[in-house]
Symmetry: C2
Subunit: 227 residues, 2 copies
Amino acid sequence: VLQLKNVWKLYAMGEAPVKALRGLDLEIRAGEFVALMGPSGSGKSTLMHLLGALDQPSEGEVRFENEEISRLDENQLAELRGRKVGFIFQTFNLVPTLTALENVELPMIFQNVSRANRRSRAQTLLERVSLGERLHHQPSQLSGGEQQRVAIARALANHPEIILADEPTGNLDTESGEKILRLLKDLNAEGKTIVLVTHNPEAAAYASRIIRLKDGHRIEDLSNPKI
Amino acid sequence: VLQLKNVWKLYAMGEAPVKALRGLDLEIRAGEFVALMGPSGSGKSTLMHLLGALDQPSEGEVRFENEEISRLDENQLAELRGRKVGFIFQTFNLVPTLTALENVELPMIFQNVSRANRRSRAQTLLERVSLGERLHHQPSQLSGGEQQRVAIARALANHPEIILADEPTGNLDTESGEKILRLLKDLNAEGKTIVLVTHNPEAAAYASRIIRLKDGHRIEDLSNPKI
Ligand SMILES: Nc1ncnc2c1ncn2[C@@H]1O[C@H](COP(=O)(O)OP(=O)(O)OP(=O)(O)O)[C@@H](O)[C@H]1O
Ligand SMILES: Nc1ncnc2c1ncn2[C@@H]1O[C@H](COP(=O)(O)OP(=O)(O)OP(=O)(O)O)[C@@H](O)[C@H]1O
Ligand SMILES: [Mg+2]
Ligand SMILES: [Mg+2]
């Protein structure tokens, strides 16, 4: 469902561009649970932004359900993302002026979900990540791990088929983190495709496949022996 | 050097205030290396902001080197913090329009360090956290873990006696994280006082004392048997 062929991503920086991804080939099939690991700066978030059609490659092809994303315009990309992809950003990217509840409702407004349905689904999702008592807090009125959990709830709002989670447990204690990983595992059991960036080998153990990046290259791609 | 007596911190929220800290008593002596742990939302960052005199308690006393911070005005607090405290924020709080180098130089400008000294110290610190090749990147041109490392380098700029690190390794791979923890351990060996918030028991093992919070209470306070 997600395919990369000879993908390069360069960031222009003065004289020497940063080569964040160097000729990456990758295929992720529907229903897989993939963990993406690698050192800080190795290209994981860059790869996630391409997989989520949030960014275009500098070279090479990115195919999303067989459609090449470089052939789609921004409206088509936004429509595809809104319906099919749930993105949990490494830096949360919550809307600072909206409450937790409103942040989770926002993606559903774009999919024309009725107000009553939106509100009840947002509350259910926030309770599922143990934030039932923080519905009316804005991001600045929440702890780091609480903001992260709002970002997780928001990503699940439209029942996406593909969930791209960029380090979703970095700010959570072990118990809260395991609760999120079990939630992702349950969604995968329902057939959702999951790509999880993590630095924590215990989190990666929830996946059935572990891909390792280094300096923009894929240096390892193994099925998880523990599964 | 840092003392709390019956400290409460309430956040006003509609009808029912959030009681983030409830009657906390705590003493941290000069030169200690303390790890602060506890579930997401248990009050760790709130406590760190009080220890760093970035915020005032709702009730109770916070003493910084025997001075009660509620008796100091904002200028005196800023002066105290600028000279004595290095703060690594959970959400980095880098200045988005400045490069990595300029972000690390900024605290030294307030302490009237000469331009040449500022520049060379900032570069030395960024090289020490393996960012020598990213000096001229702005935060939006850096990965999550790279931004975190800029925030760490910045906190050390003025040779602070007290380092308050709120989850400094959350976005780092194991190797980069261990490098930072060893750096903090070295600074502690030089006599610096360190308070490290972490969710990772392996990071907490670097400390000589582990304090656990739950719902705004201190529920455990043990010297680390492994040390
Ligand atoms: N400005 C605020 N207004 C209202 N409530 C707040 C505010 N800041 C924090 N809180 C609440 O106070 C509680 C403690 O927050 P704090 O940031 O200290 O937690 P924490 O232990 O650092 O959590 P984490 O591990 O997730 O970072 C949280 O439940 C949070 O919702
Ligand atoms: N907009 C940009 N402009 C210039 N360089 C960038 C930009 N975004 C990222 N980079 C660089 O590209 C490299 C890859 O960044 P990326 O965010 O993909 O890393 P990462 O693997 O997610 O790291 P982390 O684990 O620290 O989050 C980094 O070295 C970073 O400095
Ligand atoms: Mg990243
Ligand atoms: Mg916190």
